[in-house]
């Protein structure tokens, strides 16, 4: 008997219309846990680097995490994995909501899609019965609308539906997959789903999910729930509101947006508005939120209220989460009502709430600076807000300039040329980042930005405070009940971290300490992504209920796999390395691992090189960021080494993603393809 997992994947070949239920090897679970871990293995085994994102041979994997659907609070995430059309690397984006537990109850851990359907279809998984159904009547429908229509036609309101909107159908490089109150948004997973001709996957399950040691498991779950209650009543003092509590974060609940609006950049990640937040705006935005918000809502089996149902005037209700609350508002220099309004359209069309507003602001910046002209924007309204709505329409339909912008700022800039590249200034590995521009280099964030293969800082950071506390007594108070640390030394790192002087950034924490800190932060996210745990209860907040000390017990009691901290750390290193191996095989190298050039004003080239050297060595990677033979062997990944050798990876610097003309051609081809 398999515990926590079901032991079966659904393999669907869309070209042939073939559906198979395939038993998985429990040994793979031990080695790679599940979710992201086993997804990385499937991609390694079956998607060689020659496979283009929009090739029928690309896989699109929807995976429940190992512990999804068990009573562990907040364990509900679906990990979606494919090759990204935007970065051309392994993409893995997660969504909360209700889909992954339902898939487990239907009897599957993953849905693996390959091939391409000639016509638009949706997949209906109802326990043992799995069908590929015609979706021609859903063409062009919004993602939320699609979910409702499918539930109605199946007469199954309890079916959970993950769907794409028009952006996914039209292969917009930052198209999302929307589901429940959540979405898998980053890196264009929705575009791959659209390319495969799949409008939606609906799932309903009524089977049991078993755990190996029921009493032990329930005790762990109860401890977590008690701690959440305690933590809700005891927010962390001295940090911005969203970091004081738990959650992913609970943005819909928080009214005080001083920190985001004054520290994050407006427009195309350009303008910092110090002093923006005043009483008048605070009141206006609170009134907006209170009048448009119907209810604070949660994902499956989680008491955190990170989402909300929002009804903008004259528009249908949708479910809003997280920082998309502000991204449209800030990109357009507008107000909260505009942001919550356009997000309704953006959710139905299914676009990433980080990239989409930035791409639109980028387009308008090019117009203001004469790189694009009015002829490129025929019929665009004069007013600021109207322009954003107009651009969104063009992008999701791939009409005119929208067709260029639909590839994201990196590819669009290359296609437009004429100096447009300067304006695509906020990318890492071709992917739009949070609009943050800061002064002094932060060595911890430098490493995370460079080497994080999620390519999205909010999904890499956490655990360790973002900045030092001003006074030692505050730091002492903070470390007092900081039991989540993997080792006591982390407390000392924080205690000695000063805002100014010798022990301040960029030289403190030292490169060696930064390695420890970044490795811890990354480790927690990688565990979450294999288990299906929401980062909002684990890797993202300070002092979370799940940590390196109780996770091994959860895995032992839940999945029946003997686990301790060392074994777990080793397993994470294994599949984390496999994620990197997939990308290295696709050409990613050290030269790709850098933050946006203007992310920090004060840069330290020598220190930065030292940071990377030290971190690579710490991780068992060579100077070029490639895992070494020795480290691969230690992790039982000799097969990766063999493949690297066969392909001459160690002697190859990877394809040149610089400014060469051959690359511009491939961008053009990408668009037509």
């Amino acid at each position: 008997m398999r515990y926590a997992e079901t032991g079966y994947n659904l393999e669907i070949d869309l070209s042939r219309g073939n559906i198979e239920r395939v038993e998985t090897d429990p040994k793979e679970t031990e080695l790679y846990l599940g979710g992201l871990g086993t997804n990385a293995k499937l991609l390694w085994d079956r998607v060689p680097p020659e496979v283009e994102p929009f090739s029928p041979d690309n896989l699109l994997i929807f995976s429940a995490g190992l512990l999804c659907g068990t009573p562990a609070t907040g364990c509900n995430r679906t990990i979606v994995t494919t090759i990204s059309p935007q970065t051309e690397l392994m993409a893995f984006s997660m969504m909360g909501g209700f889909w992954a537990p339902e898939l487990k109850h239907a009897g599957y851990d993953k849905v693996v899609l390959r091939g391409k359907s000639p016509d638009l279809v949706y997949i209906w998984i109802n326990n043992d019965k799995v069908e590929i159904r015609d979706a021609s009547h859903l063409k062009g429908k919004g993602a939320i609308e699609t979910a409702q229509l499918i539930q109605e036609e199946l007469k199954e309101p309890r079916a959970q539906v993950a769907a794409i909107g028009l952006a996914g159908e039209n292969r917009v490089y930052f198209a999302s997959i929307e589901q429940g109150r959540s979405s898998a948004s980053r890196q264009g997973l929705g575009a791959v789903m659209g390319d495969k001709g799949v409008k939606a996957i609906a799932v309903r399950g009524t089977r049991d999910i078993n755990v190996a040691q029921p009493d032990e498991y329930m005790e762990l779950c109860n401890e977590v729930l008690e701690y959440i209650k305690w933590r809700n009543e005891n927010p962390i003092p001295g940090v911005m509101p969203i970091l004081a509590g738990l959650g992913s974060p609970q943005e819909m609940k928080v009214h005080d947006e001083k920190w985001h609006t004054e520290n994050f950049m407006w427009g195309n990640s350009r303008v910092r508005r110090k002093g923006f937040w005043n009483q008048e705006i605070a009141k206006e935005w609170m009134d907006t939120m209170e009048s448009l918000r119907t209810r604070l809502i949660s994902c499956y089996n989680c008491p955190m209220r990170c989402g909300a149902t929002i009804t903008p005037p004259g528009a249908p209700t949708y479910m809003m989460k997280c920082f998309s609350k502000l991204t449209y508002t800030m990109a357009a220099f507008s107000d909260l009502e505009f942001g919550l309004g356009i997000a309704q359209s953006a959710t139905e069309y299914g676009v990433d709430g980080f990239s989409a507003p930035q791409v639109m602001a980028f387009g308008l910046e090019l117009l203001e600076n004469g790189i694009l002209t009015d002829d490129d924007f025929p019929g665009m309204p004069e007013d600021n807000e109207g322009r954003f709505y107009w651009l969104l329409e063009r992008i999701v339909r791939r009409e005119g300039i929208g067709d260029v912008l639909a590839n994201g700022t990196y590819w669009a800039a290359r296609e437009i040329g004429n100096g447009a590249e300067e304006y695509a200034h906020n990318n890492i590995k071709k992917h739009e980042q949070l609009p943050l521009k800061l002064s002094m280099l932060n060595p911890i964030y430098f490493l995370m930005y460079c080497t994080g293969e999620k390519i999205n800082i909010t999904q890499i950071e956490g655990q360790f405070p973002q900045m030092p506390y001003p006074k030692r007594e505050h730091r002492e108070a903070f470390v007092k009940d900081w039991f989540q640390v993997p080792d006591e030394k982390f407390k000392q790192y924080f205690l000695d971290w000063e805002p100014r002087g010798e022990n301040s950034i960029p030289y403190y924490p030292t490169p060696e300490m930064c390695c420890d800190i970044v490795d811890w932060q990354e480790r927690m996210h990688y565990i979450d992504d294999a288990l299906g745990m929401c980062a909002g209860l684990s890797s993202f907040p300070l002092k979370p209920p799940y940590h390196i000390h109780n996770y091994p017990k959860f895995i032992s009691a839940g999945a029946g796999i003997d686990m301790d901290e060392d074994l777990l750390t080793q397993a994470i290193r294994r599949y984390r390395t496999l994620v990197r191996a997939n990308n290295i095989r696709r050409g990613m190298r050290r030269k790709d691992e850098r933050p946006p050039e203007d992310h920090w004003k004060k840069r330290f080239p020598e220190l930065e090189q030292k940071l990377l050297d030290t971190y690579y060595q710490f991780k068992g990677w060579n100077k070029d960021g490639i895992p070494t033979q020795e480290s691969l062997h230690d992790l039982g990944l000799d097969y990766v080494y063999e493949e690297f050798e066969k392909r001459g990876v160690y002697s190859d610097n990877g394809p040149d993603h610089g400014e060469s003309s051959s690359d511009a051609t491939s961008a053009g081809k990408e668009k037509e393809g």
Binding site: T206, R207, L225, R305, M319
Partner: protein
Amino acid sequence: MGEKNKKIVKTIKVNADECNGCRACEVICSAFHAEPKYSSNNPARSRIRVVRDPLRDIYVPVYAGEYAPAECMGRDKYVIDGKEYEECAFCRASCPSRDIFKEPDSGLPLKCDMCEGEDEPLCVKWCITDALTYEEREEEVEEQPEQDDLEMGLDALTNKYGMDKIIETLARMSEAKQG
């Protein structure tokens, strides 16, 4: 006249306005009632279900009540504050008209037992958003001597046929049996 007796009334107060729709109540209910306890979970077996339609802001946690062998002659539909609730949304019965409150494989009816043996029902314990809270209160009830089933049946027959007819019939049946 019956005697005055004290009785504990157990009440789960459902504040639907506070429900966040997470269904933790369904998870823990099905885990508690699994055999062996906590060995599995499955909301389809839960004795509490959240009738839930987020886009219409409908959240109704409903508990499994009595088994009804036949469905009602008609169905009910509520509209409250402009929101139309699905048919029989507030009904607790395990009934042929719908698939909730039945074991998914056998179809046997399920009924909330308030988690016997626990300090409070576990759905309440796990609902830390306080949509579900638990109250116990003492109530004085007038204890009527309980009629048993046989007596109830005979009472009904007497009303219909008259006492003489019933006695006559019983006597004849008894003779026939002995003879």
